[in-house]
Point group: D3
Chain length 314, copies 6
């Protein structure tokens, strides 16, 4: 496949790409044209369809399209002038080529996660965890393929799973290290802490904030999701329910990061640290990956609020 | 009735009071005694039972007790030394004498509130409002008698109702003044904005933060309550549901005041202003009431972040 | 009239526009040319006069000019190359076509405002209000035509009047709703709260910060204006004078918004809410007007510190 | 004279003191008594008049009273039980014994200050300065005897003059050191920067915030005072007037310290530094004076936001 | 031994205590007396020596003293009136009874710590670590017995070691979990991060801020200590030296917590999380220990900025 | 010499410039070219070498190069297309033409500074100052030629010296004005306060943050430098050493500006004011210099957090 990152000015291209966005516009002379963003897993490129009359089939944004065109340059960026376009059929492309994907095996990560679900000793909490991660197939499908973010860190297919598993493992270590922690509650809270992201962000390839996501945020959505399932489990202890919801609500740690409550339980404190540690370490990992071999200062990073660089090899 | 505010050192007293708190303690010499806080609507007073052997029946905190004792003074404050004590029977006292109560008529205020419920034109929103304010008798009872706060403003029986009605009326005026506002959504949001307080604070006479209140807060509790009832209304539009929940979540206006989202809809902005305006004006009203006739500076007020005083008469 | 918003590349244009700015520049080859910004009420457009020799009469910025030229395009934006230019005579154009104007009738709004002036019962305060709004014809002229802001909200001819009237009405409602408020003081303070803007911002068409506006700000300028007129009213009570000035000083509510004092009187608190409520609701109104029919998320709004959107129709 | 700081329990005392405050109170038994605060320049002491019937003449707070009484102790503090009391006649006491006073000579400091007034070369600014510091005898009297603060630093008779002179001298040095500074403007601004304190704080012995001081603050009061006098000087340049008022308004440097404008002119920046430098250095000077010989850490100082100590002798 | 926590009013006591502070004071009648604070590991108690004439040997603060006296009560707190006093000889008391001590074995913890020192593969870094933890016997002695804080968390003998070991272990886990981390640098930084506390806080029993601690703080002191030893290691790479010092400087993570640099390397980010996680979890551990069995809300905790409670048992 | 600020489009140029940066790039067609930034003391200009084959000798960034080329224009900025290039020999150019340089005489300023060194009466502190400013010739060379900043203020050759001398003079004046200040300590601290900049910023012409500068900052670097030299002075008093280091650490005054300690000594407070005053006054001086004759508002200045302008001439 001809990936976007290797396109060069002057080339002809005939390839299937994902059409991320499609806008109808008018030239200053009043002629209608289409402005598209094409995407594969190596990046995005602008494309224009100046002549809509022939060779351009009907298509929608977020569909896979087979295009023929010329790679040109406009204001320092590449652009494809499309001459022909049709919607690609399913066998013509492999979706994995078009979306950023976790470098780790999704199936294996999910298996590990289920191991943690099973390790919860308290029956009510385990039943609750299973009601999501085992029995709710619709949820499982969403959870396995979602990103954990629009941009920032873990913004790829499987990112939500990868981040959740990493947070669970940190929490598991904390439980060994700090005896005051109640393992069942903390592991359950870690499993659930970001499930609201399955509704805050739309599915790939769009991966954008949903209307509900903008209005409520994943912290509250996740709390509502857990609250609803708890109601269906007879005899779920009210105090534990409140503690679990508290851990989800407080996991951002600070009001200014969208948590309506500050951590008030040891498990909520621990979950906040695990989430924050993983977010920052993953941010650095992705940054260093995309600057492989570069030991210079990489510029100001907003999440870390500092200029950063890789450490010198010893 | 002999109200607490008129007790004087040296008097004997024989009266029914509400026992707000009861603590078992030991003197430095090792003798067990009881330390109580007695309350009526005019204030509270400390009381001690030094001799538990005779004349002291069994009783619990938050019950009405008939006491006989002597008013003494300790470190500048009055104290009652109780000699005899028994639990009062229902006819012996009038609960209204023991709790701070709204100066307005609860029945009449509730009637006005129902008028606003009925004025909602959209059927789904009105059904939702009625499912709380008309059909849920348990909720209605709680809502009518709850305070809107532990201290600060509206901290009395009927305070939640009084504050809610006032906010609804402000919002009703805004709808006339600002045509962009959708009246049905805003009135519904105003009605619901503080219903979480029925679970965040315990009933009078305790009126203290509940465990759930500490862990989740009334903003999220109210959102959960609305979410649950919406599920039972077939065909409730998802977008309106999210907008309504957003208004509740955002009604404190700022992250640091516990709202996990900033107001993003005109109605959420308006509700935040109505709530905030009413809180501050009521705070001043209560402050001026308790300093009637005092036109001096009254000292620093934390909510207003300023020294305040009544305005000069013209 | 050929409005700027409908100009298209390639057209010839012969029209009167307001010359907002005029700069003398040199090409890299050293030739002098003029760079103008032309304005009408639909927007602005850049214009160049490359050849100053013939057909270009003398003119100044902020005058109405009749131009002949060609509409071209430079770096994605339209530009007019002017070939002929002269100052337009008064009858050739209607100023209302060139400035953003309140959609409401200025005369009618001013009439309503005078009604509130007359409703002040205290003679001294009413005399003071009349000394501005009735007797000071220079002030009245400025006040009626001023904007309330350079950009943000109410940034149009009549904006100051429209905002002031709206704030007065909110305060009038508060007085009914909250008995602690002294109506005469609050209505007077509302009338005066932004009069400093007549000196902080220059007249239309310029509508820019004046030197005095930059150095002192409208809050202090307004206080100085009121202070000066109060001195001329024999027997004006000193305490009321200080209270009125306090309300003006404190009407932004927070130090960081330029108020040197926090609201310390009930009327100052109320005025701050009325001003803030009107600013935010008007910001939303103008935003929705300029995005009519658009129910998508409209992007981050700085004043509201949130992404915003119109509410769904029920 | 028997100063308050040397009174001891068990002594009889017969002395003239300043009566700082006088409150009428009732014992728990309902008997009326007076509670006074007596003051001399060494401190204050509580006093009670339990028996109002005989030997107690009529008197008001803030008058000098001759008392006879016994020094007792109550809750760890000394207290005088007054048996006889009458208002002292003028010759019986020396006011200087009763108020904290600058250690520097007020006449000499004022002479220096007038030297700076005369050194202003610009006629309008000098005229303005003279209209306060030379011609307004009422103002001169207030200015010479006022404190610069209720507590904090320079809280003594002559403190306003001492602080103003010190700030003027710092500014004078800045003018030599930084050629961009316009000396006439800066010296004038330094002279005027705190004159509002003559109305923000009442005269000694009260030295408390006035009502106007609470409502407007010395920054705005000073600006109003200067504004009024400028109007009486024909031909005073408007731009210089605005610049001077700006320097006064901005001299606290930050919104949160009550300046409605940030310094925007070099002279305003310089004045802010001179005022701030003098405030902090004087705070340390007073702190070290009252801990003479103590080289330990003196505890947390709020203005400096740090624990502080004297520097080791080399 | 008669521990302070079990003393009761009215008892006679004859016991050795640590004299934490000694102050010479005068009664209001002018008589000299001593005011002491006595300490053992269960708490502190005030003591007075009213009669200095007989039976009171010479002694200094921070020495162990044998006292005979009576337990009385003053203003609600116990107080010992000492009649006889002498300095105790070494065999008469066990220092471990007088100081708060880590519940873990110091020798075993130090052994574990040395294991981590040895696990550093890079020779220069390991040499540096050994130059402190193996070869500098004076340092080793200080490090093993120091607290990690005056109050807050780890404020006991061995606290610095216990905290350091815990942080090292968290970092060790991070290195497994996040491959971008350079283990040698991170382990070394974790070992050194708080060594400045050996000079910021004085030894037990005083355990107070030293003068140098107040002036420089443990972050900078630790950096100076490492800097000095690095100079003695020929060929220590300059870049690694700077990175190591950076990790120490940045380990508080935020300017407002005294770090002059924000973490700019992955190891600095990780160390900051390890330190912060351990501080908060230990704070909760100590809080729960001192409230054993109490599942109520324990009140507002300043470090966690929230009311906290133990989690419910499942 | 043909300075960069007078180059015009269309000219040929043959001149020696400093090559500030050199980057190797590829055109979209894959051809290698060089992109340079050329600098002299009047500014910088982009330059390209499209054809690397002939007439282009080998050269490195930060060397002086003799170029022949054509001045063109690209996207509104000048650009030199270089045809021939060789490294210039030492006699061909005068380095002073290529770097921004203090307008004051470096030798004379350094002489003044040494006068202050000699004026320190305490032998140990004077020895310490001499160990840097007299005996350490490498340091002296660096110190005389360094800038005090990358951009902001004093960003020129000699800037560090000019700023340091100015701060010393302010401190010298403070010592006369405020008797509590210990002159020896304050003058020494002023001399040393920014010496860390000799290592935080690289030498001209680069003048960029060094790796050590990014990781440690000049505040800590300067403290380490002083600490090291103090160790070599036998009998240097430990307390004075800590006080001096404290003054350096605290001279930014606030945590958020990188000081790990707030000023706790009078000299640290004074140094912070001197440094801050000089920074802001020099910022204004440089701003006004580069806008000579411009009395308009100059736009928002980040350091002063305000729009600024020159003051009107009187």
């Amino acid at each position: 496949m001809k990936y976007i990152e290797i396109l060069r000015e002057g080339e002809r291209v005939s390839e299937v790409y994902l059409c991320k966005t499609k806008q109808i516009a008018k030239t200053k002379m009043g002629k209608t044209y289409y402005s598209l963003t094409l995407q594969d897993k190596t990046g995005t490129v602008d494309a224009k369809i100046w002549d809509l009359s022939a060779g351009i089939d009907h298509f929608e944004a977020l569909s896979y399209i087979k295009i023929d065109g010329d790679v040109t340059s406009f204001q320092g960026a590449l652009q494809i002038n499309i001459r022909r376009l049709r919607v690609a059929s399913e066998g013509e492309y492999n979706p994995a080529d078009y979306l950023p994907v976790s470098s780790k095996d999704i199936g294996q990560m999910y298996g590990e996660l289920l191991g943690f679900v099973k390790s919860i000793k308290n029956e009510k909490l385990r039943t609750l965890a299973e009601s999501f991660f085992v029995n709710d197939t619709e949820f499982v499908k969403e959870f396995r393929s979602h990103s954990a973010a629009k941009t920032v860190h873990h913004g790829f297919v499987g990112g939500l799973l990868e981040h959740t598993l990493s947070v669970v493992k940190l929490c598991d270590f904390y439980c060994v290290h700090y005896p005051i922690l109640k393992r069942d509650l903390l592991i359950a809270a870690a499993l659930f802490h970001d499930i609201g992201k399955t509704r805050e962000l739309s599915d790939f390839p769009e991966n954008a904030y949903t209307d509900e996501g903008q209005l409520l945020g994943h912290i509250v959505i996740g709390t509502l999701m857990v609250d609803e399932k708890i109601r269906r489990i007879p005899g779920f202890p009210a105090k534990t329910a409140a503690e679990l919801k508290h851990c989800i609500l407080a996991h951002h740690g600070e009001f200014e990061y969208g948590s309506p409550k500050k951590p008030a339980l040891a498990e909520a404190v621990a979950l906040n640290f695990a989430d924050n540690t993983d977010a920052k370490m993953q941010t650095l990992t992705e940054l260093f990956d995309s600057n492989a071999g570069n030991h210079d200062w990489l510029g100001f990073n907003r999440l870390l609020d500092s200029n950063v660089r890789m450490t010198t090899e010893l």
